[in-house]
Structure formats: structure tokens, C-alpha cells
């Protein structure tokens, strides 16, 4: 694959949308779920961008659309300077080597009837023309890189712990030497003590293999520890994008503010005592007019229902709020 122009982002998403039809019992379309609805985001080579939001906000759909699992409804996906959203399947597959996706549930994404050895050989068989011996060498090298002993090659996925399954899932991907990895909830279901070692591994591998990460997570503490930049999503739209430290220091969008205020902190006053956000996110089939957060927003005014706030630049970050 050609190197992209210097300074250009590795991944550039422009006004990307992915809508899913809602059908009734007779297969007639009764509406649309606008899971991703006009998202623009650029990711530079070597950086880690966090994509946060609550369940149903469209963050996984965004990741899967970039990955080519869903076809985009509208908008462009440029990877290394090339439009990849509408490539024919054969050409799209060639991109897959460089752009990989780590699934949320490592147990479910590993074939239960295959040993780890077989699981690690598979991507090399599909994407490379290496001989058996060369593959064997690569498999052992990658297994060591993710911190698993050779003895694990003979185990089935159910014999591994959650943290180890995640390591195998990563090894499968890294053996292809991708440039960008989309990590979908990579720490959900892990205990804190294991989580720290998995995150350490992500950091180490990023250095070793010069990876670019898109880190999809609902866990704000994890995103804060891992990502230099953060994009906050609500109901299919980005509401705030900026440097992680700055966003955590002073969130500008009222949704970001509520989200950060809800995270339990150890020591000091209980955060739930001061937590003010009422209600739940509205149904994505029926999104509110104007600003999508207005139904729960403490700052809501008439203009919020009438006009959708664009994502505009405010002090070096982008915020979609009339009052930011």
C-alpha cells in the first residue's frame, strides 16, 4: 500500500452515515434507525483516539462501518489517502490487512473448536503467501509479543482466561502487521487488576508495531489513560472532540459534562449525590429535532429544538452546542 501524503491523516471520515431500516412483521419499512448520522473525524498515524459514548450511541456501528462490515449510507472513509467505503470486495479485502478490528467479546470471536495454533495460522493463510515454516515462525513470535507461552498453542479458547483470550484475539490481528487497529470495548468484562496488564500490552504493542488505535469504549477512566484525543458520541453524532486532558479538565458540551460527572471516583464525596442528569437517551428511531441532547439537557433553550448545532471550533476543540 502506498504511503499517504506527509501530514495527511491516516484515516479520515467525512460526513459518514449508516442508517438501518426498521421493518414491521410484513417486511415493510416503517422507519430508520440513524445509528451513525454525519460523523467527521480524522485520525493521524501513530495516535490513539478514544471514541466514547453510552450503549446505543452508534460507536460500534461507526467502527464497523469504517472496517467495511457495514456499507456506509452516505459519506466518505479515506484510509491512507484512498476512498475505501465503496471499493469492490476484492480490493476492499486487500485493505483489511492494514485496517483491523478487535471484537468486544474475545470468547465469541474465537472458534471454540480450533486450537490457538490453528487460530493464529488462519489470518496468515488468508492474507499472505508464506510457507508453513515461515508461518510457524511468525506465530511463535507474535505469541511471545502478546505475552503468552508456547504451551498455549495447544489449548482451546475455553481453556483460556478472559485476559488470555483477548491476547489471542490481538495476536491474530497483529500477525498481519496492520497500520491501524480498531479496538471495540477492549477491556469490558475484565477485572481491574487484569485490565491494567491488558492496557500495558496495548501500549507496548503500539510502540513495537507502530500502530494507530481507535479505542471504542464506554469506560472513561480507560480512555483517559490510553488516548491522547477523545471523541464523545451521542445518538449517532459527535458532540465534542478534543485533547483528552483538556476535555476531562473542562468539558464544554453539557452531555460530556454529565458523562464525566457520573463516573464513580474513589475517595472524597460521592459523585452520585450531585449527579443531576435525568432520564435516558431517546429512542434512536425517533430522534429529537434540533440538538439531540436537548430532551435531557440542563441548559436547553428554544433555539435547541429549532436548530441543530454544528460541530464548531471552540478553543482548539470541536463542540456541537449553541452555548459552548
Amino acid at each position: 500500500m502506498n504511503a499517504n501524503a506527509p501530514g495527511a491523516p491516516l484515516l479520515e471520515i467525512v460526513d459518514l452515515a449508516r442508517h438501518f431500516p426498521v421493518r414491521d412483521a410484513f417486511g415493510r419499512r416503517t422507519g430508520w434507525i440513524r445509528a451513525v448520522d454525519g460523523v467527521s473525524l480524522a485520525v493521524d498515524a501513530g495516535e490513539t483516539v478514544g471514541l466514547v459514548g453510552e450503549s446505543g450511541c452508534g460507536k460500534s456501528t461507526l467502527g464497523k462501518t469504517v472496517m467495511g462490515i457495514h456499507a456506509p449510507t452516505a459519506g466518505d472513509i479515506r484510509f491512507a489517502g484512498r476512498e475505501i467505503g465503496r471499493l469492490p470486495p476484492r480490493e476492499r479485502r486487500a485493505i483489511a490487512r492494514h485496517l483491523q478490528y478487535v471484537y468486544q467479546d474475545p470468547g465469541a470471536s474465537l472458534d471454540p473448536r480450533w486450537k490457538v495454533l490453528h487460530l493464529l495460522h488462519e489470518p496468515l493463510k488468508i492474507h499472505t503467501r508464506l510457507s508453513r515454516g515461515e508461518r510457524e515462525q511468525q506465530v511463535r513470535a507474535i505469541l511471545a509479543a502478546v505475552g503468552l507461552p508456547d504451551a498455549h498453542l495447544d489449548l482451546y479458547p475455553h481453556e483460556l482466561s478472559g485476559g488470555q483470550q483477548r491476547r489471542v484475539g490481538l495476536a491474530r490481528i497483529l500477525t498481519l502487521r496492520p497500520r491501524m487497529v480498531i479496538l471495540d470495548e477492549p477491556t469490558s468484562g475484565l477485572d481491574v487488576s487484569v485490565q491494567a496488564s491488558v492496557l500495558k500490552l496495548f501500549r507496548g504493542l503500539q510502540e513495537t508495531f507502530a500502530l494507530t488505535y481507535v479505542f471504542i469504549s464506554h469506560d472513561l477512566a480507560v480512555v483517559r489513560a490510553m488516548c491522547a484525543r477523545i471523541a464523545v458520541m451521542y445518538l449517532g453524532k459527535l458532540v465534542e472532540v478534543g485533547d483528552t486532558a483538556a476535555v476531562f479538565e473542562e468539558p464544554r458540551h453539557p452531555y460530556t459534562r454529565s458523562l464525566l460527572a457520573a463516573v464513580p471516583r474513589i475517595g472524597g464525596r460521592r459523585v452520585t449525590l450531585d449527579f443531576a442528569l435525568e432520564g435516558e437517551p431517546p429512542n434512536p428511531r425517533d430522534v429529537p429535532s434540533g440538538c439531540r441532547f436537548r430532551t435531557r439537557c440542563p441548559l436547553v433553550q428554544d433555539v435547541c429544538a429549532a436548530e441543530e448545532p454544528p460541530l464548531r471550533d471552540v478553543d482548539g476543540r470541536r463542540v456541537a452546542c449553541h452555548f459552548a
Binding site: S193, H218, L259, V271, E280
Partner: protein, 341 residues
């Protein structure tokens, strides 16, 4: 404070294909009246087994209670007549909030059917054993009174339009609303103790914050005790008066919440708290793995991963040592001072 629930030296084994797993190894936990106690530990440490043992709903084929007692209001539930426990305690004096509210409702009946079915047997107005044999009919006056109580409790857990909500099916509610319904069902029998098994794990943070606050307000207003299991120390901080830490089937430390987070004494507790991500983003894991419960390490089960471990740790389980009123630690080498010192 008087102890409402007092678990003493409880041992539970599970028979597995790999051998006998000693899942609970002489656990001691106390819950005082009106107190919210957090039971904290990593997955596989035995928190759910302990919760089920207290409720008396361990899987009959696999689990074996080898010793100890579960004293509730002075009576040992393990040795009482199971029929009496079923009629008076389980679902009445002790109720349960599950981790996953979506699989705890039947998908095919409206919420009303399911809540009124609970009330038929477990309402505070029901006699022991529920509606009288042989009719097993729901007495009409009691039904009306119970229905009022249900509506009032649904209002208390902030379900909008309770009367209409009752006619809906479980899938028509969001995850947060379903958990509110579960909390209502746990409160309706007017229990003395609620066992909540990771009730906010499947919820988003903003919903979790709402639910934690609601639950704490409701139980404090009604004087109900809660045993709240969680793997998330932040959640424990939000809701608990006292925290008990478990590791591999043994309790390691029990302390009032304030002391627990400020001055943890057990090396495991300190490691666990240090592994929580702080704003600085330092990553500190606990080296090593949780031991297998089939043939676990002798003595203190944390000793293979502990920096402080000595010969006596490998030999005998440390006795309970009281550092301050209410702050007990089971360690030969408790550490003083705040974390990081």
C-alpha cells in the same frame, strides 16, 4: 449496632470435572441493621456463591456446604427447616436484585402478571405459605391492597405512569427501567435485607449513577440492609457504608468505607485499589494469576502473589486482627498508611 446477618466460617465446595473446588473457605461477613455492605472482589472470588448460599439457592447437584453458619436474626438458616426458610425468609425477609434484569423477567408475560405473582406469595400481607390451600386463589381484598402498594413502589423507583407501565411487556422497558422494576420487586415484600448481585454492571454510567443514588435513598429511608456485591471499587465507594474484600474464597479485609479507601491494610486490598485507573493514567496490575480453587494454595490464598508473604502465610490462614473499631484484617503483615506511601 446489632448484626442482622452474620455469616461465620462458611465453607462451600463445588464438585467439578477437575476435582473439588473449595469456592468458599471459611468466610465471615456481618451486616448490621440498616447498613449497606459492599462485597468486593474479582470475578471468581466467590461473591455470587456467597450471595446464593445466604439465599439458600446454591445449585443442588454441584454445591456442597461443608461447614459454618448463616445467622439471620439469630437463626442459622442452614440448619432451619427448609420449608420455614422458604415461607418466611427467602423472598420475604431477604430479597434479591439480580445482575441482569433482562433475563430475570419472563419475556412473554406483562410486568403486572409477574409482579402480582410475586405479591400473591411474598406480599407482607400474605400468610406464611401464601394463599390458603386448596384454593390458592388470590384473596380479592388483599389483591387490591397489594396493587396499591405496587403502584406506590413503582412511583418510588420513578417509573413514569405506573398503571400503564404494568400492562407492558419487559422488552418495552430500557435496561435502566427494568432494573428499577427489579428494585421495586425487591422492596415490595418489605424485607430486612436485600442481596444485590452487581445490579449496575450492565448499565451505562449515567444510568448507573441514577440507580445507585435511588437505591441508596430508598433503603436508607426504609431502614433496609443491603449486601451489595460488585467488582467495581468506584461503585462500592458510591453506595456502601462498609466494604468487605474477598479473594479466592477468603475474606481479606472488612472496614468502614471511609477507612477502607483511605487506609487499606491488607496487601491485596492495596494492590486492588492501586490498580484502579487514576487521572494520571499509571497502569499497575497485580502480577500473577488468581489461583485455581481446586487444590488452592494453603494458608492465606493471596500469598503466592504477595510481596509481604513469609513462611507463616504459607502455613496457616491468618486470624482476624482488629486494627480499629469495625476495621478487621486477616493478614500477618498488615500495612499502615495511605496507598503509595
Amino acid at each position: 449496632m446489632t448484626e442482622l446477618l452474620s455469616v461465620r466460617g462458611l465453607r462451600v465446595d463445588f464438585v467439578t470435572d477437575g476435582g473439588v473446588a473449595q469456592v468458599l473457605d471459611g468466610i465471615n461477613v456481618d451486616v448490621a441493621a440498616g447498613e449497606v455492605v459492599g462485597l468486593v472482589g474479582e470475578s471468581g472470588c466467590g461473591k455470587t456463591t456467597l450471595a446464593r448460599a445466604i439465599l439458600g439457592v446454591l445449585p443442588a447437584g454441584a454445591a456442597r456446604v461443608r461447614g459454618g453458619e448463616v445467622r439471620f436474626k439469630g437463626d442459622d438458616l442452614l440448619r432451619q427447616d427448609p420449608a420455614v426458610v422458604n415461607a418466611r425468609v427467602r423472598g420475604r425477609a431477604i430479597t434479591f436484585i439480580p445482575q441482569d434484569p433482562s433475563t430475570s423477567f419472563s419475556p412473554v408475560f406483562p410486568v403486572k402478571t409477574q409482579i402480582m405473582d410475586l405479591m400473591k406469595w411474598k406480599s407482607p400481607r400474605a400468610a406464611d405459605g401464601g394463599p390458603g390451600w386448596p384454593l390458592r386463589r388470590y384473596p380479592r381484598e388483599r389483591y387490591r391492597a397489594d396493587r396499591e402498594a405496587v403502584l406506590e413502589t413503582l412511583r418510588a423507583v420513578q417509573i413514569p405512569e405506573p398503571a400503564r407501565a404494568l400492562r407492558r411487556l419487559p422488552h418495552e422497558f430500557s435496561g435502566g427501567q427494568r432494573q428499577r422494576l427489579m428494585i421495586a420487586m425487591a422492596l415490595l415484600p418489605q424485607p430486612a435485607l436485600i442481596i444485590a448481585d452487581e445490579p449496575t454492571t450492565s448499565l451505562d454510567v449515567t444510568i448507573q449513577a441514577q440507580i445507585l443514588r435511588l437505591l441508596r435513598e430508598l433503603v436508607k429511608a426504609r431502614g433496609v440492609s443491603v449486601l451489595f456485591t460488585t467488582h467495581d471499587l468506584g461503585t462500592a465507594h458510591e453506595i456502601c457504608d462498609r466494604v468487605v474484600v474477598m479473594y479466592a474464597g477468603q475474606e481479606m479485609e472488612a472496614a468502614p468505607a471511609e477507612a477502607f479507601f483511605a487506609r487499606p491494610a491488607h496487601p491485596y486490598t492495596r494492590r486492588l485499589l492501586a490498580s484502579v485507573l487514576g487521572p494520571g493514567g499509571e497502569l499497575r496490575d497485580i502480577p500473577g494469576d488468581v489461583p485455581s480453587l481446586v487444590g488452592p494454595p494453603p494458608g492465606c490464598r493471596f500469598h503466592p502473589r504477595c510481596d509481604e508473604a513469609t513462611a507463616e502465610c504459607r502455613r496457616d490462614r491468618p486470624a482476624r486482627r482488629t486494627l480499629a473499631p469495625g476495621h478487621d484484617v486477616r493478614c500477618y503483615h498488615p500495612v499502615e498508611g495511605p496507598i503509595g506511601s
